[in-house]
Every structure is written in C-alpha cells, then in structure tokens.
C-alpha cells in the first residue's frame, strides 16, 4: 500500500488521491501582454525531473482539499508535504526513504 499523508486527514491510501501536476505555477497578471511563446510556456511547459519534484495533489475521496507534495520521481518517495500557500522546502537530493 502506498500511503500519502493528507495535511488534514493523516495517512490514507493512494487510491483516495488525485495527482495535480507541477505546483507553484502562477497565472500571468496580464495574459494579453504576453507573446505567444510566453503564453504557451505558461500553459504547456512543465518540469520533468528525475528526482525531487514539487507537485500538487488533492484528497479526492476524503476531505477534497488540495495540498503540495515534494516527491522523488525516481524512487516515488515522498520527501515533504505542505499546505497550499506555504513555502516549498528546499530541493534536496535526498528522498531514498521509502
């Protein structure tokens, strides 16, 4: 069983959660002022690291709240969990803890 710790509900089974892609992408203040390239970059371009990744998850079958996760995409180890609006942890090379 792959457990994820919801900041509200605690440890729950992964099947209760939905992955929400890369975190901390801010919508541009004035989209009409952007070039097509800049807008496409905001809409489509995402990091795809092998290692620590800051991403969003939602506790779909539980409290239905969004939160942030730092996960090692190589080992699938969850390195940190923090609420929306909180500062992300510094990226590290750790994360082999399972």
């Amino acid at each position: 069983m792959f457990l994820i710790t919801c900041p509200w509900c605690g440890e729950r089974e992964e099947s209760e959660f939905t992955y929400g892609h890369e975190a901390h992408i801010t919508r541009p203040e004035d989209p009409s002022a952007l070039s097509d390239d800049e807008w496409a970059d905001y809409l489509f371009m995402r990091k795809n690291p092998k290692g620590p990744h800051l991403e969003r998850w939602v506790h779909t079958a539980g409290c239905r709240r969004w939160f942030n996760v730092q996960r090692n995409t190589h080992t699938n180890a969850i390195m940190a969990i923090y609420k929306i609006g909180e500062t992300p942890p510094k990226a590290t090379t750790a994360g082999n803890k399972s």
């Binding site: 069983m1 509200w8 509900c9 605690g10 729950r12 089974e13 099947s15 209760e16 079958a61 539980g62 409290c63 239905r64 709240r65």
Partner: protein, 210 residues
Amino acid sequence: MVDAYRLRSPLDHLGLTARAQAEAEYSGTGVVLSEIAHLCLINIRGDASDPAFIAAVEKSIKLTPPTAPNTVAGKPSQSRIMWLGPDEWLVITKPGRGERAMAELWKNLKDGKLHAAVTDSSEARTCIRIEGPRAREVLAKGCPIDLHPSAFGPGQSAQCIVAKCGVMLVQTAQAKDTAGTYELYVLRSFATYLWTWLEDASQEFGVRVA
C-alpha cells in the same frame, strides 16, 4: 415553498421493512444491517477561525463545529455535526428537524453578515448502519481505513472508500467485545450497490436486516 411530495428511500425497492420483521427472530448473526432513511443532512461552509461564525452555528443548532479533522460532535440519538474539511461540516438531524435547523442557520449567519454557505443535502444520501460482532471485519474487506479500536472509535469519522464507493463513515458505538457500530452515508445512486455488497460480504458471518 416546495410542494409536499412523497419521499422515497433509494433502498425502498429492497423491501427492508418486511425483511426486518421476518428476520427479527434470527439470533447469533455476526452482522446486522439496517437503513436509517430520510435523515436531514445540512452542509455548512464557513471560517472556523472566526468566533462570530462559530457562535452563529452554536446558536442555531446548539452544537460546536469540530475543528479536529474527521470527528463528530453530538450524540447519535440527537443532532450531530461532522467535520468534512477545515471550512466544511455536515449537520445530521432526525427526519423532520431539518427545516427548522436550516431556517435557524440561515437567519443567524445572515444576521451576522458572515461569509458562509448552508445547503440542504438530505436527499443526496441515505444512511446504512452496520453493527454486530463481525461488522468491522466486513468493512475491512473493502475499506483501507484502519478501523481497529486502537486506531478508530466512537465519535470518529472518515470520508473514504468502501468497496470502491465513496462514503462518509462514522463510528457511533464500541462494545467491549470489539464490536463496533458504524454508519455509512452513501450517495443515493450508489446505495443499492453498497447495500448488496455489504450483505454479500456479510454472508460468511451470518447476517440479518433490522
């Protein structure tokens, strides 16, 4: 004003009342299943850190919205309020008591000019109760939540999955012999599926309808 119409439980077609009468004599079954139909369920959204919001809810329903995740305040025999999220709760009251609770909540939250929402969701769900010495084992077949008495007990709740079906799970009682009583609040379109799954999963322990 909504016209009066005939409320019908989503499990009505299973003839549970007749079965309960027929099976009342059964003894020693490991599991007892029953439906608690037509409970009033009121969803409340608001700011838990605002004392005025808490006070308005307390004034309306005489219960304090719990801030501890996945807990329920109040007695099962009366009205209860369940934590659904950091700014969301569910009031559970007896059939017929919902209108008054709705009106009180509307009035007190409006009077306080509070940023809040109150929604009657009574007919979205029905409640299935499962009890008996083997009830916990039946739920364990389909639910990843640890329901062992050392981890889960009366007054605790969880929005979770039972047999692939989303439910609000509440434990209402705990007997000495580790028998727990649980309520499953299930969306009405899933109610027949969940009931038949529970009854099937209970077969090996012996089951009766109450």
